[in-house]
Homo-oligomer: 341 residues x 2
Amino acid sequence: MIMNMKISDLGEFGLIDRIGRTAVRSTKRAPIGIGDDAAALLLSPSAALLATTDMLIEGVHFDLKTTDLYSLGWKAAAANLSDIAAMGGMPRFCLTALGIPSSLTVEQIDEFYLGLSDCIRKQRTVLVGGDTCASRKDFVISVTVLGEADRKRVITRAGARPGDLIYVTGTLGDSAAGLELLKAGVRSRKPGVRRLIERHLRPTPRVAEGRKLALSGLASAMIDVSDGLSSDLGHLCVQSRAGAEVYADRIPFSNELTSIKGLEQQPFEYALSGGEDYELLFTSPVEREREVMSLRIRATVIGAVTRRMGMRMVTEKGEIRPMAPAGYDHFRSGRGRGSSR
Amino acid sequence: MIMNMKISDLGEFGLIDRIGRTAVRSTKRAPIGIGDDAAALLLSPSAALLATTDMLIEGVHFDLKTTDLYSLGWKAAAANLSDIAAMGGMPRFCLTALGIPSSLTVEQIDEFYLGLSDCIRKQRTVLVGGDTCASRKDFVISVTVLGEADRKRVITRAGARPGDLIYVTGTLGDSAAGLELLKAGVRSRKPGVRRLIERHLRPTPRVAEGRKLALSGLASAMIDVSDGLSSDLGHLCVQSRAGAEVYADRIPFSNELTSIKGLEQQPFEYALSGGEDYELLFTSPVEREREVMSLRIRATVIGAVTRRMGMRMVTEKGEIRPMAPAGYDHFRSGRGRGSSR
């Protein structure tokens, strides 16, 4: 095996052939996969088609100093699978478009596809097509995931009603703390450190959880936590034309996040504005709390939907503070959009 | 109206809101369009879903010195619509992901979406979602188009049989000649020059033609001419496990291409290796030629499929020459893959 093979040695069509090995050419669900002008795919006749696309650009979304290519492929897929999960859908098909700088080797692209394939395979999703081209400087990744959902069971961001409880799956803030550790160059072998870093590099899309919520009909609205709790809850509130109260002491944190010393911020700060946790944030009528708990999806009540617009945080001491969306804005310097919205 | 508004003045979510104006939020076919985690879309119950994605990167696929933003948006859409056309399908939905450098203004992004919207609207296709992020240097565009086709009428690249005639719609070579004129800075007002440049900047995807071929069942194989006749016919031959003979004097050229003086190459050279014509190249049994002609799709017979592998060009003088795929390779310097494949 030739190591550090340059992509120019393979050529575009050689590289496409190589990528094609991880993609399907023809299956029952994807009678025409990679290798034609477009993929031809089959959905259940009664299903709604779900479609989402995300772009990741080197230097903006990731830094090759703090991620390996396997994790990058995993995460690019996970972000899109998470969007399908947030609609209550089942991901089925994946398409990728890559802009590859000459600094990357064939082995690195192999690693990328290995990570992507491992992530989508766990969710019974297949790679069916894509595009590959050169990029002058930055590695550019665009992933599209197509899924399906029962037409009447698609969960939007818009259905939350005053009085509904607000839930989140798993724990929040781990990813942002993991990124901070990575940036600081912490190479600890402590399981806690490694776990936070892993949560940042290879997040788990909550597909099974979203699916249970869709089938049960218990969620009135849902979104995935990709930009941070304050930002994503803000989207859900705006689209549901409602407000929210969040109880600070209810936000679920991992043992790793609360126990590791030397982090720059408090756990709830990572949760509010950190993003990339890819947990599901959903609302459900208060009288159905017992049913939600019986789904066994590890969800925690963190607040309630209010008629009054805007978001408020109730501190441990019972003080009520305004909560502004504080996620990342791609086109503004630094973080935080303050109260401009 | 504020001119030259910086994207940082709007912010990410302001820009998404602005783009949202050209996209659908909810229609009968797209009950959930832009503005949620994923779009939820409806296809005909018996249809196959077609999916294709393309990436365009500044400095690789386009140069903002030779294209306006409107044309760029148009072409990004057209390239994908053409892929759906080449399967015999109807494009339905479009998703875009943009990586935007700080050098672009809000008005330029508006122009991009205006061009994209005008192109897809002509094909009854709607924008249903996407992603918007910052890019450090290059403007990066990723477009995904979803379409549908009757399950039994999808036309692949793989069905050509020895003896089938090879057809191409429209004329070839205009786009490459138009690019040459643009690069040379030719700013002529002559209709011929403008027409070639327009063919390069705002190509017409042959959706209606592809559709007629699919419904009639006349095409045994089809591909769109995006990389140049020699390269794309090469793909069709490889996938059909057949060869081809092309008659040089049958290749259709526009009057503009043959009459304009001062071009660097011969018309057939632009046709063979130029690419970006977005015409349809298809094959059909010889005994059905009359039926093909009756479709009124302006298609020209340019050769025949052969049992013998490889491609050969029959010159006007009757000489037979080998024809090697000569399209653009993203990862190799210059053009031409020679006979390595």
